[in-house]
């Protein structure tokens, strides 16, 4: 039940935004908006179910921490 509750806000946003856009035949906008809602919902579900969701901070650290060490910021 809680799993469904996590997804409700994303489903409501997708329904309202995509529905309104499709009525006005804005298919590209509907695809991007719906895609973002889907990804956001999956991410939230992943966080709730403790899946190994991608963490942007970990990615940035992996990319820039060696350089930060090299230039002496750490």
């Amino acid at each position: 039940m809680k799993t469904v509750a996590v997804l409700i806000p994303y489903a409501v946003i997708a329904y309202l935004e995509v529905g309104a856009l499709l009525k006005r035949k804005r298919r590209r906008e509907a695809a991007v908006s719906g895609g973002l809602s889907l990804l956001g919902g999956l991410y939230a579900l992943g966080v709730y179910l403790k899946w190994p969701v991608p963490n942007p901070v970990a990615f940035i650290q992996a990319l820039f921490l060696p350089i930060a060490r090299w230039v002496g910021l750490v």
Binding site: P9, G41, Y43, P56, R69, V71
Partner: protein, 385 residues
């Protein structure tokens, strides 16, 4: 330089139909600087530089103004285009689209950082026991509502609220001045220039979030005054941070101030007029939350507009709520705790931020100059508000 002049043509839709004055431009940037100034800069900077933080801020101020020259120049070279759009014009669609997309992604990530900080502040000091997700989700609803209303609406809100933020901070600093012990600040540069210089990337990375000027400039009624607007906003923000750093150092001493998570709060706690006007932390919280909500709206607007321009959409509003909703779980999981946050903000964040804020823009600028590319001159008349 091949001497060839290429006029970049393409689909240059202005997604937001608002227009802002230079005054509003200034207050929008002041709101962003004030929120980051209160949130990250004083506590992080004092850990590195101890009493010499104000020198780091002056150096960062000068560097950021130099960077603003590039943004102002590019804004005039590509009239009515944001940096996301002129990245494609200058670099071509294959390289320009991914490079341009880095800007909205950066704004979106900056949103997550600030959102996490404000939720931690509220939970730690004012709403203990409240789940962070409630605070973040509530705040994001307000933020998304503001961002969806458009730049002009946010500009009017900033024009009203940001002067109040500045006034309250100035009043607090004035009231606390008799209690300051300036001998704590001496000697200056005790450990040489290195600690001071290593504080510059951190400060500059937060100041340079004002590359938002590259998103505002197409909507400014007089784009030639963009650099002046940035100069005014940045100088105001720098003075606020210098005041906060000097006051907290002089009030509680360099070591306690440097080890405190919220050194600004120490200043507010000692403010008292007679015996009837004291404990004004709530006023401080109102400024921190108000400035943060306004900044988050501005950053979310910039990320939605930038992303819509990357995908070639005709409107940005449908992206605002999905982006805001995704920020809620992101801001909950980005850090395991405050130690992680401090390490990240001091080490990897300045390099990431500066590579986007300065690196990408300078790259676009050089390529545009070498290829002789400029934007199509606009005939669109500026509408006075």
């Amino acid at each position: 330089m091949n001497g060839r002049l290429t006029i970049a043509r393409g689909r240059l839709t202005r997604l937001d139909h608002g227009q802002i004055s230079t005054n509003q431009f200034v207050w929008l940037l002041v709101s962003v600087i004030t929120s980051y100034a209160i949130a990250f800069v004083p506590s992080m900077l004092m850990r590195i530089t101890k009493p010499d933080g104000w020198i780091s801020i002056i150096i960062s101020w000068a560097c950021d103004l130099a960077l603003a020259l590039v943004y102002a120049f590019m804004g005039l070279r590509f009239p009515r285009q944001s940096m996301v759009q002129y990245a494609t014009s200058a670099l071509g669609p294959w390289l320009g689209k991914p490079v341009g997309a880095m800007f909205p992604l950066f704004f979106w990530f900056a949103c997550a950082l600030l959102l996490r900080w404000i939720s931690e502040l509220l939970v730690a000091l004012f709403l203990p026991g409240t789940p962070s997700v409630i605070i973040i989700a509530t705040m994001m609803y307000v933020v998304a509502y503001g961002a969806r209303a458009g730049l002009e609406t946010m500009a009017r809100a900033a024009e009203t609220a940001a002067p109040l933020f500045v006034l309250v901070i100035a009043t607090i600093l004035t009231l606390v001045t008799p209690k300051l012990r300036f001998e704590y600040l001496a000697p200056a540069l005790e450990d040489g220039w290195m600690p001071t210089l290593s504080g510059v990337p951190l400060t500059l990375s937060f100041f340079a979030i004002c590359i938002l000027m590259g998103m505002f400039q197409p909507y400014q009624d007089d784009p030639k005054r963009a650099w002046f607007a940035k100069f005014t906003a940045l100088s105001t923000g720098s003075l606020i941070i210098i005041g906060l750093i000097l006051a907290s150092m002089s009030l509680i001493g360099p070591e306690p101030a440097a080890s405190s998570l919220y050194p600004d709060l120490a200043i507010v706690q000692v403010v008292a007029i007679g015996e009837f006007f004291e404990r004004i932390e709530v006023l401080w919280m109102a400024i921190a939350v108000g400035a943060a909500v306004l900044s988050l709206s501005i950053l979310l607007w910039a990320s939605a507009v930038g992303l819509a321009q990357t995908f070639g959409l005709r409107e940005y509003q449908p992206l605002v709520f999905p982006l805001a909703a995704w920020l809620v779980p992101i801001s909950l999981v980005i850090f395991d705790g405050q130690v992680d946050e401090i390490i990240f903000t001091r080490s990897a964040f300045p390099l990431y931020a500066l590579s986007v804020e300065a690196g990408l823009e300078v790259l676009i600028w050089i390529v545009a100059l070498v290829r002789g590319i400029r934007g199509e001159p606009t005939q669109e008349p500026a509408r006075r508000l």
